[in-house]
Symmetry: C5
Amino acid sequence: MDIATLIGLLVGFGLIVWAIMSKSDLGNFIDPGSVAIVIGGSIAALLVCNPLKDFLGMAKVIKNAFFTKSSDAQKLIQDLVGYAEVARRDGILALEGMMRDIDDDFIVRGVQMAVDGTDPELIEQIMACEVETLSERHSSGKAILDALGRYAPAFGMIGTLIGLVCMLQDMDDPSKIGPGMAVALLTTMYGALLANLVALPLADKLAIRSAEELLHKAIIVRGVMSIQSGDNPRIVEQKLKTFLPPSLRGSEEDERAA
Amino acid sequence: MDIATLIGLLVGFGLIVWAIMSKSDLGNFIDPGSVAIVIGGSIAALLVCNPLKDFLGMAKVIKNAFFTKSSDAQKLIQDLVGYAEVARRDGILALEGMMRDIDDDFIVRGVQMAVDGTDPELIEQIMACEVETLSERHSSGKAILDALGRYAPAFGMIGTLIGLVCMLQDMDDPSKIGPGMAVALLTTMYGALLANLVALPLADKLAIRSAEELLHKAIIVRGVMSIQSGDNPRIVEQKLKTFLPPSLRGSEEDERAA
Amino acid sequence: MDIATLIGLLVGFGLIVWAIMSKSDLGNFIDPGSVAIVIGGSIAALLVCNPLKDFLGMAKVIKNAFFTKSSDAQKLIQDLVGYAEVARRDGILALEGMMRDIDDDFIVRGVQMAVDGTDPELIEQIMACEVETLSERHSSGKAILDALGRYAPAFGMIGTLIGLVCMLQDMDDPSKIGPGMAVALLTTMYGALLANLVALPLADKLAIRSAEELLHKAIIVRGVMSIQSGDNPRIVEQKLKTFLPPSLRGSEEDERAA
Amino acid sequence: MDIATLIGLLVGFGLIVWAIMSKSDLGNFIDPGSVAIVIGGSIAALLVCNPLKDFLGMAKVIKNAFFTKSSDAQKLIQDLVGYAEVARRDGILALEGMMRDIDDDFIVRGVQMAVDGTDPELIEQIMACEVETLSERHSSGKAILDALGRYAPAFGMIGTLIGLVCMLQDMDDPSKIGPGMAVALLTTMYGALLANLVALPLADKLAIRSAEELLHKAIIVRGVMSIQSGDNPRIVEQKLKTFLPPSLRGSEEDERAA
Amino acid sequence: MDIATLIGLLVGFGLIVWAIMSKSDLGNFIDPGSVAIVIGGSIAALLVCNPLKDFLGMAKVIKNAFFTKSSDAQKLIQDLVGYAEVARRDGILALEGMMRDIDDDFIVRGVQMAVDGTDPELIEQIMACEVETLSERHSSGKAILDALGRYAPAFGMIGTLIGLVCMLQDMDDPSKIGPGMAVALLTTMYGALLANLVALPLADKLAIRSAEELLHKAIIVRGVMSIQSGDNPRIVEQKLKTFLPPSLRGSEEDERAA
């Protein structure tokens, strides 16, 4: 659970509501027609620019910005080193029995291929391709939010233009000019909020999450290849720890100092 | 048929029409002169920036965003593996008889070269060059829509400036100021709609379609090269399946488990 | 002669004139001082950002967007294959006599070096360097038009600001406010037209022309190198045709089928 | 201490305050609600787009733009050459005793690995990875300030829209229109100042600082590898000095001339 | 002396002054406070984003856009070929006596290393590193002007916002509204002029100058390496001339034809 995403959204919308209520009535800032133009128009543009399947998968993508498996790279490396020890001690076939206890499907598939005696080059190719596919799925998820960040302000402006044209064509009653313009400006505000508080920051967060997840997959690929080639567990650990920032690599230096 | 493109356009324009009719009369938002400036001006700019041939081919390009051959990568791989089996069992010449039943011209041309005994390197070069040419044709199609997405808002602004100058030069009758400005703003709205609901989203969709089609061509090139070199069909299948996302690769794991 | 460039400019300016005349008088939209600010200011900026030589060469560059040698890649390949046949049949020195009839200077220079027995590596280096130089000259031509496309709207805005400041400082006569603002807006309109109907589309067209011309040069370099190394004319043809899109490569397949 | 950062901020804000006070009262330009929208909204967006940990580390990152260790590349090279001399004269183990006096942790860790006899390739991999991690931490620090530079003007505009809508919905008292609009514009000004005087220039400064620090690390990596392989100290010096601009490399030429 | 830079600035500012004087009084467009905000604010931002040393070096950088050593690549190549002849005829040590007459420090340093018998690889590394350093110094000079081109319009807008807020808060005297707004707009105009007539075009010119100078350095590096390895002067000339555009390479073809 990435608490910052939720806090950010609550703080942001809370502030806007507070700012409005301190000067005016919140009801003056809610106009269902304006909401429909900005949200509906942006959704329409997203439907034109994405295949239906990707569009429907958007909710799943956004979820990743809020929830995220606790991903502990140190624990992961420890596990992989453990498998390497078993494989070295009892032979690689000994891993077959352990696979039921491994949570991560990607490790299971990789180890299974190693156990089956698949050609190492093919294992690496298949795992790399899976990582590549995951990376593309992440990018296309981020691309949808980026597109929302571009189209929401555009439809905000289109809504404001519609409102202004309506107001300008009927200026007989001067007392209606102000409120008419006020309503017209609401769509621009909706579009700016949707883009700058929701779509663009979520897209950035997804990019960071994606980088984290891809790092884990890279550690797993390297680990499985090391297990397959029967590397010394100490070497496996040293190799995998180069993926970690120095501050998380402490144990290694301790061991070396020992 | 990519239903999302059509739905998106219908929803988008439907919403705009509904938003206008709920506040004013649709007729107030239709001004043939303004339409002419935005559409005509954008077309003029596209003519200046593209060769006539590319400009006239634009309709064909846009069609790709709506209609698309059902492209089933799994079926394609199955077919290629089938040809590999025939070639391995009965010799590569046996493929000559099957070519009449192959729909995809690109496969036919590749297999024909293999049957003719053309030098493998030259086959790969020729096929790669064909893929490259296709990719460039796709890019130049997308480039036209991207250009439309840039020029439409520009001519919308130019139209609004013309309208404003007309209105400002003749302000004797105050009752005409509002409607004059309203008409002036229409071109900006047209330009924004043309760019953000039509041109830019269609350009994005074309990019996604293009990536799909190029992936298919890449699978075919790899398949034909494997058939030519007489690879074991099992190996051909494994190699080609690395192009698929894991979720579509099921059979492979089943087979391996068997 | 690229007819689309001319048609586009005529259609574009025709539309603008028509739009103006349908609402107002064309004379109201022509203000020599405003023209001077936009055009003069842009030229001044171009002088600051380009060496005098490049600036003066701009007219020559723009001409390329209108006129263009009929460039027929198929004919070019046919010619090169013809030279390869002569060189193979009668020895490379036999090409010396034919050189008077070759139009393209670049081919002549390349063949001359081959006839002179210059080291093949040096021939390729010299020809590649010439192509590189051409490509840079094209880019710097495009860069000037791109710069014009950036500076023209900027000086349009500067002109409008000058006009607005003049108008605002002297608002005693309300009847002059409208026309004053109208004149002020004209520079913005001029800048937008110069950028979006002339400079930016011409820059795009130059990029397309440049790509075509560089492709031809690449075909020639490859052809001359093949002739120099005494390749079989059939192989020369196959190699050069990989530069063509499949639709223009028909004869090759026919020959192979034969 | 990078005095320019501090001077720039003082001069910039001083000028703005002076400009305001020369025309109006500073109090008119301070509106706590507007400050809350711009700063609070930007912080909310930063929370959505960054993991909590990175957000909280922002202060530490910004500090780097003000304070910076005196980093003297010439001194660093001299030190490394000194260690190389010791290693060559007394054997690499002799460095163990000197390590207590070395300030830079990164040198210590590298030399320690060399002394321990770790495989040179692994030393280089581990050190390169540490540099890579540092570079990414710097980039993500800069990215937060860049994001602030994008979101601050956006929330400035959102605040202005809220203010305008409030003012337009209640125009009964004409004397309130001006001040209402004035307050509405304040948020746009706050956003522009925060972005253009603080966030974006600090981001640029961080990039320059980061480049300096990474250069130092690169010198250290090369130096440690040279020490490990027992290079002649003269060669070590020549190699390391290629990282310096010529103006700082004088001694080398002097020595050679000698 | 690059006359175009000076002409451009004179024409540009001349036009603006003429445009102002034809409609109003030049004094109306000069407001010291506005100048202070735009210039002072931009300088403040530049101080925040650049180390003090780079900021102070800006004047030196800008000078390069006006003045420039007459750099004649043909003459340079002729000189280098001359040194190659001497080295081949009388041995490389014979160059030592000629070095007092060589103007270009970079050639002297390179030849000196060759004469000293420094390892060729190290010579190339040291010279390449010097070119790299020069290229970075040029880029950071250009970067300062680019930053000025971004910050000047931003502070122009900030100044206009300050002016508008002042005007809006005190609208009791309607006759002051116009002039107040006029003064407010001046800062936007100053910012646009500073960016579009000075900073951005000068940045572009510096990039072109830098490319020229780096080409010269590349010719020198190649020349020195050829001299060091004792290449035939004819070959040296052919190699160096591939850096020139064909139009400047005439003599070569003449010689070959001879």
